[in-house]
């Protein structure tokens, strides 16, 4: 239990998927313009990461990993080269389902997220979550906690950034730094603040 709490805190703060690994930058920069949309996309990413990471865990460990097909009697097959394409397809399917759900229940969020909801399918944070899960050899429970934690960390970052951008409306930015550029600079400074937690091991 302590290890799971530690893993969760680690994936939210020290190993924040956005501020420590810089994954999922494109939608982070684009959507953080508006706080409400940012919260919506944050929840969407939390949901998609929490679902896709364990699902990909199951698929990897029972279909793709070396020797994973032993249950079907063909233990010497190694399909792990299919990892990327299979993970992406699972993510795309999940995002499709989520899109239909949001369209049904919250029209304003659906309109606000616009093109970026389908783009979660190619959000590197989501695929990164699944690939980290394989690389760090998590167990199934750990993959659920990690997926959830990574999503919460991403959401924390985008919500903080959206609020910072509200404050930055009063800033007097030099010509050319408006928009993406200043967001990247602030992201870098935020990452420096998050380095606070690097090195903690519970």
């Amino acid at each position: 239990m302590v290890e799971l709490v530690s893993l969760f805190l680690n994936s939210v703060f020290a190993g924040n998927i956005l501020l420590a690994y810089f994954l999922g930058m494109c939608s982070f920069v684009a959507i953080s313009k508006n706080l409400n949309t940012a919260i919506g996309l944050g929840f969407a990413v939390v949901f998609v990461l929490t679902v896709t990471t364990p699902v990909n865990w199951l698929i990897f460990h029972y279909l793709l990993a070396p020797g994973a097909l032993a249950w079907a009697g063909i233990g010497d097959v190694n399909l792990s080269f299919l990892r990327l394409i299979v993970f992406i397809s699972v993510i795309a399917a999940m995002v499709q389902a989520l899109e239909m759900l949001i369209d049904r229940f919250s029209a304003s969020l659906y309109a606000g997220l616009g093109i970026f909801l389908p783009l979660i399918a190619v959000n590197c944070a989501i695929l990164g979550g699944s690939l980290f899960m394989v690389e760090r050899e998590y167990t199934f429970i750990e993959s659920v906690v990690f997926g959830f934690g990574a999503g919460v960390g991403w959401m924390l970052a985008i919500v903080a950034m959206a609020a910072a951008r509200i404050k930055m409306r009063y800033a007097d930015l030099p010509y050319g730094l408006d928009g993406f550029a200043i967001t990247m600079i602030v992201t870098g400074l935020m990452a420096m603040g998050f380095m606070l937690f690097s090195g903690i091991s519970l």
């Binding site: 509200i166 935020m190 603040g193 606070l196």
Partner: protein, 398 residues
């Protein structure tokens, strides 16, 4: 208009046309304004609402902060000189110690001010905004957080990063999201870790009598605590190394130039609170946060955990840079949240996170600097949330 003021006013009035729009030295207007407000009280009528009749402007605000910074600054000079002379076996009478301290500390401060002013001036001229007094505070806060042996080019690199990336890219004083002095400090902390931490950076020895060594090593209280055996009582370990509570409180021990003496911060805090410049909510929140988190760790203290767990929480207040950070940096009105409840939470979390980093993070000996930067990230969010909640609670106009 006083008798002394008149000739000055005349000089400035004569020079003014050159700096006005269309004048020959139009581009240097920010410098003219800065010099004028240095000598004379600015009498610029504001153009936008709200109109409040008060003479508290940015200049007086920052001057009071500078005055409040004097106790740690002067003590820092004395303390640096004392340890330099003490380590090299020279006499430690007051005047020579203070002189030695000046020789070590002044170049750092001068480089910080000089390089910082260059960037501030460059941006002011090109972007046509006034040179702000806020810079005077940043330029003094930053050197006080450095170890006395810091190479001067690193001071220049740090203040450049702090002023340009921490402040000027956002449009100058009042618009930045992160405290510029802390941004500068964190930047050189990560960029040049060798010169920023360890045992050999805290005593600046220039000349030695007898056994000559270039750098003298010495462990700061934080380093002593981090190396303590898990079973040990830190209070006893401190006392063994000569750090009693009293020493730690008055600050006559090695450490960053201006951060050692909690007593001087207390004087500074009283000045800031009496004049209403700094928010008592942030300071009180920070102190409560430290004590609460310290007590919480006391409950978890076990023989196999780091010795920091079992320390009396009061020691957290006087070790490291906590007192300095919470008094001068956390209360920065630009980067702290502007709403009242948020200030309590903001201060509390700074204290809590700082203690958390000290106790459980082996990578950093001290966490106050990064704790404040970390909370700077969330300060706009806290401000926004509290404003929203208040608006929701308001009884609608019927």
């Amino acid at each position: 208009m006083g008798r002394i003021e008149k000739p000055f006013r005349r000089i400035f009035d004569r020079a003014r046309p050159y700096f006005e729009t269309g004048g020959r030295m139009e581009r240097l207007k920010p410098f003219f304004e800065a010099t004028e407000t240095f000598f004379l009280y600015p009498a610029i009528p504001v153009k936008n609402k709200p109109f409040i009749r008060d003479s508290l402007d940015l200049k007086r605000y920052m001057s009071i902060v500078l005055a409040a910074l004097m106790p740690p600054f002067l003590f820092g000079i004395y303390n640096t000189g004392y340890h330099a002379r003490n380590a090299s076996g020279l006499s430690t009478d007051f005047l020579s110690v203070f002189g030695e301290g000046l020789v070590i500390v002044l170049p750092i401060v001068i480089v910080s001010y000089g390089v910082g002013l260059f960037w501030e001036g460059l941006f002011a001229v090109i972007r046509r905004h006034p040179v702000s007094e806020g810079f005077l505070v940043t330029g003094l806060l930053f050197p006080l957080t450095l170890p006395p042996t810091v190479p001067l080019w690193q001071v220049a690199a740090g203040i450049t990063f702090g002023v340009v990336i921490g402040k000027e890219v956002f449009g100058g004083t009042g618009r930045n999201l992160f405290n510029p002095a802390l941004t500068a400090r964190a930047f050189i902390f990560f960029a040049y870790p060798v010169q920023m931490s360890g045992e050999r950076v805290w005593i600046a020895v220039r000349e030695t009598a007898g056994n000559a060594v270039d750098a003298v090593s010495g462990a700061t209280p934080l380093a002593v605590a981090a190396l303590a055996e898990p079973k040990a009582r830190i209070e006893a370990v401190f006392a063994d190394s000569g750090y009693t509570f009293q020493t730690l409180f008055f600050g006559n021990h090695i450490g960053s130039i201006g951060e050692t003496s909690a007593f001087c911060m207390l004087i500074g805090a009283l000045i800031l609170l009496a004049t209403g410049i700094a928010s008592y909510r942030i300071m009180a929140g920070g102190v409560i946060g430290v004590l609460a988190t310290g007590l919480l760790f006391n409950f978890f203290a076990a023989p196999d955990l780091p010795a920091w767990f079992s320390i009396n929480p009061l020691y957290h207040l006087v070790t490291g840079g906590f007192a300095f950070g919470i008094v001068y940096m956390a209360t920065d009105p630009v980067t702290a949240p502007g709403t009242d409840t948020s200030k309590w939470i903001y201060g509390f979390l700074i204290g809590g996170v700082a203690v958390l980093i000290r106790v459980v993070n082996p990578a950093f000996p001290e966490g106050v600097m990064l704790a404040i930067l970390f909370m700077n990230i969330f300060s706009p969010l806290m401000e926004y949330t509290e404003t929203r909640l208040r608006i929701r609670r308001r009884i609608p106009n019927v």
